[in-house]
């Protein structure tokens, strides 16, 4: 097959043949060498030896130039070129070309850094606060139990009402009541006023948590005379008692009275019903106490549904039972039924809308960033038109060029995404401190796997929307088949159409963002207007709020007690106390 015939290159340039052998893949070599031999023989006969040799060299150069290109003869000439090798070659090329365009690269990375960083940082707050379930076992079965007014609003319950529900209904496995408590703890010369709670002895069992050290409250301790016992949060135990495990079982002075320390809660425990609480003591009510009456609406109740009982069924039963109570004690119940929202709904109810609103706004910001990146890439595709046109003229495949531009987008998006995630990580560590976000919220804000996952998705999304899609459209079939070196008209038209689309998208997103910002400002104004009203129980937030404190208060305050929130609009009842008045707790001692 490859033997030399009598007319085969007696004087054909040996070096040129060697070049062909080295550069042209074996599969094509036979046909090309055959063509050259035939053409050379013809040239030799017609033009003479010198011109024939020149002709031969010209053809070989034209073929060598093709074989130097990555994919001149797709697919035949690229058979020996593994996809990984060509991908690495493309990657090297992309990195070189990006080094030559530092301003473009920096702009794209910076834009994506802001978009992805802000979205990830906010999601790291949104996820644990709004989307994640409460950190208790079978938390879907945890519900709040509120009395329901004729207008459908929820209200706290009185002690006897809670006790009757516990005793006479069957839907609940357990029910615990909770009240605010602001004790002053004295250790040595130090005294500290704390946020705490008085809770039914079943409170922690209802939530499904146990102390890390010591023991839970017992039923005997939930009485007026025996209730001087406390459970400490891990933070308080470390701060006030130096993390000394021997204090468990000992006693400490609280409001000047000795209390026994029953145990210490786990470091991971979060009391979602009262996020600032650091100390818990048994409620210690009994029916004879004046503040334990049916009209003393100052307690919240949390319950665990019996296994297999739905919330709807429980609501129906307790609603009916409330009507029974009203018939039994017509002068003591103006409220007409019960409401049982899940603990998750209750806890996230207040923060959910503003946080989700803000999250949507930041997602729009990311889209805007992507539109900007798309615009930058379109501009760059325009600048590289000649380069792309030459590649096309030399036979480069459209897919290969799209891959090249996509790779560029992927590299920049990855860089932007990685820096964005780094910024988000720093944000979750620094921002809570800078904004004085409460510890419970800050502790939840972390780069959890879902946050990292979202970051990756956002990065891929940015690469596709910002880079690959414009590249694909700009290098589409219609643009490619007519593109020529020096002829800029068609690609120019495609680019302008895309750029117009990008501008329209950007304006639309900007309008959406403005509208969203307007709504946020309105919400904020309402928050500030409402800041003077007592809102979420005890603590320093209740009066004289600064703007920053009001924002934090709005986003981070514990679940609202409706009766307290309504303030003076509720009719005063005998013995009723507002749970927003912590001084009252002192009188119970």
């Amino acid at each position: 097959m490859t033997r030399r015939g009598p007319t085969d290159f007696p004087a054909a340039p040996r070096l040129a043949r060697l070049c062909l052998t080295l550069r042209v893949p074996r599969a094509e070599r036979e046909f090309i060498k055959g063509d050259l031999a035939e053409g050379y023989a013809l040239q030799l006969a017609v033009q003479g030896r010198v011109r024939a040799r020149l002709w031969y060299w010209r053809q070989v150069f034209s073929i060598l130039r093709l074989s130097w290109r990555p994919t001149p003869f797709r697919p035949a000439f690229s058979r020996g070129d593994s996809s990984m090798t060509s991908l690495l070659a493309d990657l090297r090329f992309v990195l070189r070309s990006l080094r030559r365009a530092p301003v473009f690269s920096a702009l794209v990375v910076l834009t994506l850094l802001i978009g992805i960083g802000a979205t990830s940082a906010l999601f790291s707050v949104v996820y644990p606060v709004v989307l994640a379930r409460p950190p208790y076992p079978d938390s879907d079965r945890l519900v709040m139990v509120w009395e329901r007014s004729p207008s459908g609003e929820k209200d706290n319950i009185g002690f006897l009402t809670g006790a009757d529900i516990r005793k006479e209904t069957h839907s609940l496995a357990s029910l615990a009541m909770i009240s605010y408590w602001n004790p002053t703890v004295r250790t040595g010369d130090q005294a500290e006023r704390l946020n705490g709670a008085r809770v039914s002895h079943e409170y922690f069992a209802t939530l499904g948590v146990r102390p890390a050290m010591g023991r839970d409250f017992t039923g005997e301790e939930d009485h007026p005379d025996t209730r001087r016992v406390v459970l400490l949060s891990n933070a308080l135990w470390r701060r006030q008692f130096g993390g000394d495990s021997s204090v468990v079982g000992g006693s400490t002075l609280i409001n000047g009275v000795p209390y026994r320390i029953a145990g210490v809660m786990p470091a991971t425990f979060q009391d979602l019903l009262l996020p600032q609480a650091e100390i818990w003591s048994p409620l210690g009510y009994e029916a004879s106490l004046p503040w334990a009456c049916r009209t003393c609406h100052h307690l919240r109740a949390v319950a665990r549904l019996r296994s297999g009982v739905t919330r709807a069924a429980a609501t129906q039963e307790i609603d009916a039972f409330m009507r029974t109570l009203r018939e039994r004690y017509p002068d003591q119940y103006s409220l007409v039924g019960a409401r049982l929202p899940t603990l998750h709904e209750e806890v996230t109810g207040d923060v959910r809308p503003p946080l989700l609103g803000l999250f949507v706004a930041v997602l729009l910001l990311l889209l805007l960033a992507c539109a900007n990146v798309a615009n930058l890439f379109l501009g760059r595709t325009g600048e590289r038109q000649t380069d792309l046109a030459i590649r096309l003229a030399l036979g480069a495949a459209r897919g290969r060029l799209v891959r090249l531009v996509s790779l560029e987008a992927a590299v920049l998006s990855f860089a932007g995404g990685a820096l964005g995630m780094l910024a988000a990580w720093l944000g979750t560590r620094l921002l809570p401190g800078l904004m004085q976000v409460p510890e419970t919220l800050a502790r939840g804000a972390a780069m959890a796997p879902p946050v990292l996952g979202l970051g990756l998705v956002l990065t891929a999304f940015s690469a596709v929307i910002g880079g690959t899609l414009p590249a694909f459209l700009a290098l589409g079939e219609s643009a490619l088949s007519d593109i020529r070196v020096g002829s800029r008209a068609l690609l120019g038209r495609v680019r302008h159409r895309l750029r117009n689309a990008v501008v329209v998208t950007e304006v639309a997103l900007a309008v959406l963002l403005l509208a969203g910002a307007g709504l946020q400002v309105r919400s904020l104004r309402e928050t500030l207007a409402g800041a003077d009203r007592p809102r979420a129980g005890p603590g320093p937030h209740d009066a004289g709020l600064s703007v920053g404190a009001a924002v934090r208060h709005y986003w981070c305050s514990p679940p609202v007690l409706p009766a307290a929130a309504r303030g003076s609009d509720a009719a005063p009842r005998r013995g009723a106390r507002r749970s927003g008045q912590p001084a009252a707790a002192g009188r119970q001692l």
């Binding site: 015939g5 046909f31 031999a37 035939e38 053409g39 023989a41 053809q59 073929i63 036979g395 088949s481």
Partner: protein, 108 residues
């Protein structure tokens, strides 16, 4: 949208149609050079043929070896119906655009 033909692609397809069963790299080049007096390199011809094959306008088969080729085989190209249609379309566009332009172009 149907893929359209570039300038060289049109020339190569027309040369292939003229050559019929005997169309391969060097004969295509010679046909173009002889009939149009345009210098076209073998590299450009191969590149164009590969592109036409990728577009489905031509297909290849391997021919017999000949002594003038040093006993090497040929890679023969055959125009497919899609290729004929593309040429027809290109010629129709050329005719439509050039109609009535003879005086302006100085043609008799």
């Amino acid at each position: 949208m149907k893929p359209t033909l570039g300038d060289l692609e049109q020339l190569v397809l027309l040369a292939l149609l003229r050559l019929g069963q005997d169309a391969y790299g060097v004969t295509v080049q010679q046909e173009i050079v002889t009939r149009t007096s345009r210098e076209v390199s073998l590299g450009a011809v191969y590149s164009t043929l590969a592109r036409l094959e990728e577009k489905g306008f031509v297909r290849t088969r391997i021919g017999d070896p000949t002594p003038t080729r040093g006993g090497r085989r040929k890679k023969l190209y055959l125009v497919q119906p899609a290729g004929r249609e593309a040429v027809r379309e290109a010629l129709r566009a050329l005719r439509a655009l050039s109609q009535g332009l003879a005086p302006a172009l100085g043609l008799s």
